[in-house]
């Protein structure tokens, strides 16, 4: 029943960026880029690393295109998309203790 949501179909889009913040214009553009990413559903993983959970490949392509349209004039931006299976193999430590990632579910009970 839930085969459709297997870890090879669900995708994560990661965006890494290094934007200059010397002039006021550059700072504004950097802030704008961050805000736009968040408006598109990206969450901050670390400073300058944002990620978005996408429930299908098609959905992933939509968000990839959106990010491309948002790239600021100056700075270094990288975009990487991986499957949920690959993402699941990531290990995370906080204060030297291993942490579990929070993964969005199709059905969430609050």
């Amino acid at each position: 029943m839930l085969e459709r949501f297997n870890a090879y179909r669900i995708m994560w889009v990661l965006v890494f960026f290094d934007l200059p913040t010397d002039t006021r214009k550059e700072r504004k553009a950097a802030a704008r880029f961050r805000k736009d990413l968040q408006a598109d559903g990206f969450t901050m993983f670390q400073f300058s690393i944002y990620l978005r959970h996408c429930s299908s490949r098609e959905n992933m392509e939509v968000h990839q295109k959106r990010v491309e349209s948002l790239i600021p004039e100056k700075g270094h931006v990288g975009m990487l998309s991986i499957t949920d299976a690959q993402f699941g193999r990531m290990k995370i430590w906080y204060n030297a203790e291993e942490e579990e990632k929070e993964v969005p579910q199709q059905l969430e009970l609050f």
Partner: protein
């Protein structure tokens, strides 16, 4: 794409920030970092169920959910779904489609109803077959459905189906106000109705104008009609739930959580497996094509 279903069974404070639905604990709502439980992109949401008397929702939340064609189901103090919120402007060509809907000829409507009832009975037969029960009678009835179901095969099928469906309860009678497990069926059907109504609006159709039963005092007559062939999917899920946890006096979060997987339960549409929510969208899109005169057959599912 499969949209997400959010169920709120506990107090919550819902607001929007930068296109994201922000869910806060109302007891801590003034403590920004502690209070926030989750942030979910609005555009990923397909269905929201509000099931607690202490949920607060801002206007922007409702606006944006509707703008993203999400359905909002509201429950009363007895935790029964009582109503739903859908957008009025679901589709750019809807004015044109409404006109087609209103002007639909009687032969077309009778044809559509015949297809609907036939498919419903076939799917009821499939549920019985999955239970290792005899489905021959229902399959035969399905073949005998006439235009407009003038022979009322739907009622004949129901009279055969319900007493036999639940082996452990041979005296079971299906009606809304009936004793448990009718409550499970009611809940499942309410979710199904919301999913169907949302898709109808998304396809540019008025959920109020039914195919055949047009004189109902019912704002969702068409949703009630189109959901018929999907009802057996709910029936199958309720059977599983009954086997797992017995007949419930009251629905718990576990029961509701199980039934809320309905939008992602697989059905077979056009020879391929598809999650129910996506299948319903294709059904309503094909219905719009029928109203426009571009085709005569509605795309209905069968059960795996």
């Amino acid at each position: 794409m499969i949209k997400r279903t959010l169920y709120f069974g506990n107090p919550a404070w819902l607001s929007v920030s930068n296109g994201q639905l922000v869910i806060k604990d109302p007891l801590l709502k003034d403590y920004k970092d502690l209070a926030e439980k989750a942030r979910i992109p609005m555009e990923d949401i397909g269905l929201v169920v509000l099931d607690h008397q202490q949920i607060t929702v801002t206007q922007t939340v409702l606006n944006m959910l509707l703008a993203n064609n999400a359905a909002v189901v509201v429950c009363d103090d007895r935790r029964h779904p009582t109503g739903m919120l859908l957008n009025l402007n679901g589709n750019v060509v809807q004015a044109e489609l409404f006109r087609h809907q209103i002007e639909a000829s009687e032969p077309l409507r009778k044809q559509l109803w015949k297809q609907t009832v036939e498919c419903k009975i076939r799917n009821q037969a499939a549920v019985l077959a999955n239970e290792q029960l005899d489905d021959a009678y229902l399959l035969e009835l399905a073949g005998k459905v006439q235009s407009g179901d003038t022979g009322n095969r739907e009622a004949q099928a129901a009279a055969w189906y319900w007493p036999r469906l639940i082996k452990e309860l041979p005296d079971f009678r299906r009606f809304r106000e009936g004793p448990p497990p009718n409550n499970l069926f009611n809940y499942g059907y309410a979710i199904l109705r919301a999913v169907v109504a949302r898709s109808l609006v998304g396809s540019g159709l008025l959920p109020t104008l039914g195919i055949f039963h047009r004189n109902r005092y019912n704002a969702y007559a068409l949703a009630d009609d189109i959901m018929e062939p999907y009802r057996p999917v709910v029936d199958g899920m309720v059977l599983k739930l009954l086997r797992r946890s017995g007949v419930p006096e009251e629905l718990t979060t576990e029961h509701k959580g199980f039934l809320l997987n309905l939008p992602v339960t697989d059905v077979i549409l056009d020879g391929k497996a598809s999650p129910l929510m996506a299948a319903v969208q294709r059904t309503t899109a094909s219905l719009a094509q029928c109203y426009k005169g571009d085709q005569r057959k509605v795309l209905y599912p069968s059960l795996p």
